[in-house]
């Protein structure tokens, strides 16, 4: 009973390490696979800057990025003129409520140009896409995500109907294909409007939140990134001949770089969470040491007897070490099974209920942790009590009350 409680410490420690590692790896795979579907030709431009001194991390925070207003439609036009660019689309976004009769839904609206449908390979299946005319005239038209269309209109056909977003009336011209939940954002809850309309009527701004560019070929990506940087520096009046990225007020990233950044961020997060879980493991180990010390005291007479009938110091040491390792190893196995089944359940729930294409992973490191660390904890925290037991003189041990 007491051993079982002690074991619980190890069980929880190992299980939480494994859950953290498995879920962390799963999240990383999910985001990366999502980024990879965007295609290797894709380049992103966002406000902000890199700081190479921070290992390629961001120099500006999200809040700071929001206040940078230098990225504009003029930049987009200049980028589109580059010969290596196949197409590009701007992006502004915000959130609000969409109202149709009595229905009222929270939405994310995104201001785009027609190229967005092409580059993301995501089209309307009903009605039409937003076109060049809509952008030029800042028309109040919208294409709805699949889920928003369902929630607002139900069985009704939304095309041609009018919805209200932020006190402005929008005519629904199309409904997007179902895309599902990816990277923690449900695309089916997006509403696309022309970028000019969003700037003027919904946000009251004239800068952009991002530009997405598709290069003509994969080999064009890297030279194009450099070209875009030069264009933007000139447009933004940044004197930066040595190409110091921390001086820029924008970030240009290829899909590969973005994937690496995600890997880095989720990696740090996983390591951080795992180390918290590892503390639970150490606490469990101290529990083991405690229970072994109690056990040595309680079984002093037994130790004396064993010595009297011929056990050497080594035999006693081994007996107690094996005992503590058995407890931790058993705890490790139970924790491993528990952690894996929790992660598996989580992945099933995420896949089935939330429609996320989550892939269940058992990280190799977690397996090593489950068994290796548990054994080491048993050894490290068992060695002191075991040595104490082995050193007892047989006659003193036998006399012990």
């Amino acid at each position: 009973m007491r051993s079982a409680l002690t074991m619980l410490g190890i069980v929880i420690g190992v299980a939480s390490v494994i859950i953290m590692m498995s879920l962390g790896r799963g999240a990383q795979n999910l985001i990366i696979s999502r980024l990879q579907t965007m295609g290797a030709n894709t380049i992103y431009v966002e406000p902000g800057s890199f700081d190479p001194k921070k290992g390629g991390g961001f120099a500006t925070s999200v809040i700071e990025e929001m206040s940078i207003k230098t990225l504009t439609l003029r930049d987009l036009e200049d980028i589109r003129k580059e010969p290596l660019v196949e197409m590009a689309y701007p992006m502004v976004y915000g959130s609000g409520r969409a109202i149709y009769r009595n229905e009222d839904q929270k939405i994310t609206f995104i201001g785009v140009t027609p190229e967005a449908y092409e580059i993301d390979n995501w089209h309307t299946y009903k009605g039409r896409d937003i076109d060049e005319e809509d952008v030029k005239s800042a028309a109040k038209v919208a294409t709805l995500g699949y889920k928003i269309a369902q929630d607002l209109f139900g069985e009704e056909d939304p095309v041609g109907k009018t919805i209200r977003i932020k006190k402005a009336d929008f005519r629904v011209v199309g409904v997007m294909e179902e895309r599902g939940m990816k990277t923690f954002q449900n695309f089916d809850e997006y509403v696309y409007v022309p970028v000019t309309t969003a700037q003027r009527f919904l946000l009251g701004i004239d800068h952009l939140n991002a530009i997405t560019i598709k290069a003509k070929s994969e080999s064009a990506v890297n030279p194009l990134i450099e070209d875009i940087r030069l264009i933007l520096r000139e447009n933004h009046g940044i004197y930066n001949p040595e190409g110091d990225l921390s001086k820029d007020d924008f970030k240009v990233m290829s899909q590969v770089e973005a994937a690496n950044m995600v890997k880095q961020v989720t990696g740090i997060l996983t390591a951080f969470l795992s180390s918290i879980a590892a503390i639970a493991l150490i606490v469990g180990g101290i529990g083991i040491m405690n229970i072994m010390l109690v056990s040595v005291t309680e079984r002093t007479r037994e130790i004396g007897l064993r010595k009297a009938v011929g056990a050497r110091n080594k035999d006693i040491l081994n007996q107690f070490l094996i005992e503590s390792i058995t407890i931790t190893l058993l705890g490790g196995i139970i924790g491993f099974i528990g952690g894996i089944s929790f992660s598996l359940t989580a992945s099933i729930i995420l896949t089935k209920l939330l429609n996320i294409s989550w892939k269940f992973v058992i990280p190799f490191g977690a397996v090593v942790l489950g068994f290796g660390v548990a054994t080491i904890v048993g050894l490290v925290f068992g060695i002191y009590p075991a040595k104490k037991a082995a050193k007892l003189s047989p006659i003193e041990a036998l006399r012990h009350e």
Binding site: E302, G304, K307, A308, V309, G310, R312, N313, P394, L398
Partner: protein
């Protein structure tokens, strides 16, 4: 043949600057096949003497030779080996492992030897049979009566077929009938050739041995054969 040789054996305990002399120059020999009782008032050093003879403790000074080997020349592991091979112990409070079967209790000394599992099993069953507890083999030690527990302890002491059996007040914690059974077993073992060293403060138990040594204040005050030896089987204990 001399099995145990003691010469001027001394044992002192130093505790908080108070020096206690437990044994003060004890000298005698024990031959193979003897049945020796050591007796004396409490604090006379009889238990200490037995512990040293049983390699559970070391003397402070003097010579102790077991089968010609001096204790000084042996390290702790060698002492453990000799205890395992040559000695068996029976204690006043039985010292059985609780929640452990009779079989496993008796087997305990054999787990530190290298003989085959099959032979271990045979020896354990033989030892249990010789103390008349074969019907209790699978019982837990704490389900047995005191007398039965002490018989299990004797089985454990003889399972490795030792040259000498040390019995420290083996009847001290038992009723007279159970004590008599224990003494009967010890006498039988002596008849089979085992050397037996018995520590007791009861005169009638000591008189079932063949030789009696009296200790007082760590010194031997008398050492003589028992003339009118009592046989436990005859039911002389009252």
């Amino acid at each position: 043949m001399k099995m145990i040789e003691l010469k001027n054996l001394t044992k002192e305990y130093c505790d908080d600057e108070v020096k206690t002399i437990a044994l003060d120059g004890v000298s005698f020999n024990i031959r193979e096949g003897e049945f020796l009782a050591i007796t004396g008032p409490s604090g006379s050093g009889k238990s200490t003497l037995m512990h040293i003879m049983g390699f559970l403790d070391r003397p402070s000074a003097g010579i102790y030779k077991f089968k010609g080997q001096s204790i000084e020349d042996l390290d702790d592991d060698q002492l453990a080996y000799i205890r395992n091979e040559e000695m068996g112990f029976v204690f006043q409070f039985f010292n059985l492992l609780p929640r452990t079967s009779v079989f496993d209790n008796v087997k305990l000394p054999l787990i530190y030897t290298k003989i085959s599992e099959e032979e271990k099993r045979e020896r354990v069953l033989k030892a249990i049979e010789s103390v008349g507890l074969i019907h209790r083999v699978k019982h837990y030690s704490n389900q047995l009566s005191g007398g039965e527990q002490q018989r299990v302890a004797i089985a454990r002491a003889i399972v490795n077929n030792p040259a000498v059996i040390f019995a420290d007040e083996p009847t001290g914690n038992l009723d007279s009938k159970s004590g008599q059974q224990i003494m009967e077993i010890l006498q039988n073992l002596n008849d089979q050739g085992h050397t037996i060293i018995l520590v007791t403060h009861e005169v009638y138990t000591a008189e079932m041995a063949k030789r009696l040594i009296r200790l007082k204040d760590g010194k031997v005050v008398s050492d003589e054969p028992i003339k009118d030896r009592k046989i436990a089987k005859n039911g002389l204990i009252k």
